[in-house]
């Protein structure tokens, strides 16, 4: 370890360059990890929400509702079905509007909102977004679903939102991985070249050590330690920068995504992110070091 620290002190600017490149790379990897985790949470949130809501006729008999539920379950495509009665609907409505007298109808001429004016509904979650059409068709064929004034069955069908979200998440993940790969190759090249230069500049010393009986491992260990030091410092700073970005963006994110993703991000997640980034960094550093050392030994 001491010879490695000495090597770093001897050429501080090379060391700073290596650490900066690694920090930038790991900052990007760290941010993309956070974005991927967030987008995954958003996707899960929307996937676990009722994906198909069918509003029922006031006159729909309970037996027919039960029969429709049985039909839906028999398709094997349904994850869950929830029957929301008129009273449940009122409760949900009141919870969502809070104490707003205007929305509760208490200050309007129309009078207070009651359960009578809200329809009962069936909230259906499907196993896969590809099953939307089939499940929706079962509901379309049922007589219990109410009709709009235009004669269309009242079925909320947010198929496009979820599938588009899934596509965006996938694209984001792919872009992140591609960027991380490009930056990783740059980091490996920068650190590898840096270490190669140092090994080359100490060739006489290395040759002397080998002449007095040193093994390759003894001679080259300090250079591998050096890459480990670069990795740990670079990894820590990469994580730190992303953590700072996260801290400053949390107030903005809370207003848009509260309830969808856990905000502020739990300390344990941040700690695991640090461990993940340090591991990736260490892997990159060691790979660069081994790459440089092997190149030297092959000469």
């Amino acid at each position: 370890m001491n010879p490695a620290l000495k090597n770093i002190r001897r050429s501080p600017y090379q060391a700073i360059a290596a650490v900066l490149v690694l920090s930038l790379n790991l900052f990007v990897i760290s941010l993309f990890t956070l974005v991927t985790l967030a987008s995954q949470s958003i996707l899960v949130y929307f996937e676990t929400r009722p994906q198909i809501i069918a509003y029922l006729k006031d006159t729909a008999p309970e037996s027919l509702v039960n029969e429709t539920i049985t039909n839906l379950n028999s398709t094997g495509l349904v994850k869950s079905i929830k029957y929301v009665s008129k009273n449940d609907a009122l409760k949900i409505y009141k919870e969502s509007v809070g104490n707003d007298p205007l929305l509760l109808g208490t200050v309007t001429q129309l009078g207070e909102v009651t359960a009578d004016i809200l329809p009962a509904s069936l909230e259906v979650s499907v196993r896969s977004s590809s099953d939307f059409d089939h499940v929706a068709k079962v509901l379309e064929e049922s007589d219990i679903v109410s009709l709009t004034p235009q004669g269309v069955k009242e079925i909320d069908f947010p198929k496009n939102i979820v599938s588009e979200l899934a596509a965006w998440t996938k694209a984001l993940r792919t872009a992140g991985v591609a960027l991380a790969v490009v930056l990783s190759v740059t980091s490996i090249n920068t650190i590898g070249t840096n270490v190669s230069l140092k090994i080359a500049s100490r060739k006489t010393e290395i040759d002397t050590l080998k002449l007095i009986g040193a093994k390759n491992s003894f001679v080259l260990k300090p250079y591998l330690w050096e890459t480990v030091i670069y990795s740990l410092i670079g990894g820590f700073f990469g994580w730190l920068f992303s953590f700072i970005v996260l801290l400053y963006s949390t107030p903005i994110l809370v207003t848009r995504l509260e309830g969808i993703i856990p905000l502020p991000v739990p300390p344990l997640t941040v700690f695991f992110l640090l461990l993940f980034i340090l591991s990736v960094s260490l892997l990159l550093g060691l790979f660069s070091g081994i790459f440089a050392v092997v190149r030297f030994l092959r000469r």
Partner: protein, 232 residues
């Protein structure tokens, strides 16, 4: 025991540095190899630690044929055969003590005893006050002593000193030769290559090289080599 059997070394440029050289050095001997510059003395040192390979012939050290020695066993050979290089090869940005410490670390010498061992070695070579000096701050004679201390640190069974008196004044050269004799008396086989004939009387045997061939060999101490060397 070192045995050279008909060893020839020809470099790619075509120059033959050693030609069918044969000799045998027994354990504990103090052998001086003399010869003018370019006669092949340094080549013998390089062949002994397998820094270069002979073009033909065999080199056997303690019944181990160096030609058959695998690369992974080189470090152990170089711990057995230590060379004091003509240009010292002391690492310039490390102090005298650090240079010796490196040699001890290479042989996995117990860390807690390294300092004690360095003090002992520096006392042996007369550099006790210079342990924290850098090579650039030492004289030629002191550098030579530092190189001897580093070589002896690993307790080699064979010590090859390549032109140890080459750059030194007569008095310092004499001190260095006496130091090597002292090391030899502790049981180490010592081989000294030199073109200086002033100190061959310290040796138990003398080999004289000329143009890559041994032209004279004597088993007695010789005061005036040209008169006493026997033709082969």
């Amino acid at each position: 025991m070192i045995e050279f059997k008909e060893v020839t070394k020809q470099f790619p440029a075509g120059n033959v540095v050693l030609e069918k050289v044969s000799f045998l050095i027994k354990p504990g001997e103090f052998v001086v190899i003399t010869g003018p510059s370019g006669s092949g003395k340094t080549t013998i040192a390089k062949l002994l630690i397998k820094e270069i390979e002979p073009t033909s012939g065999e080199i056997v050290i303690d019944s181990e044929n160096l030609g058959l020695l695998k690369a992974k066993h080189l470090p152990s050979l170089r711990k057995k055969v230590a060379v004091i290089f003509q240009d010292y090869k002391i690492i310039p940005d490390k102090t005298v003590a650090e240079n010796i410490s490196l040699a001890l670390q290479i042989i996995n010498f117990p860390k807690t005893q390294i300092l004690e061992r360095i003090t002992h070695l520096l006392g042996l070579v007369g550099l006790s006050e210079k342990e924290n000096l850098f090579p650039g701050q030492l004289s030629g004679g002191e550098l030579q002593r530092a190189a001897i201390a580093r070589a002896v640190a690993v307790e080699p069974s064979i010590l090859f000193a390549d032109e140890p008196t080459g750059n030194l004044d007569l008095a310092t050269a004499g001190e260095i030769m006496l130091l090597l004799k002292k090391i030899n008396q502790s049981g180490t086989t010592v081989i000294v290559s030199t073109h200086d004939l002033n100190f061959i009387d310290l040796a138990s045997r003398h080999l004289h090289l000329l143009k890559g061939k041994i032209v004279a060999e004597d088993t007695e101490s010789i005061e005036k080599p040209p008169k006493k060397v026997k033709k082969k």
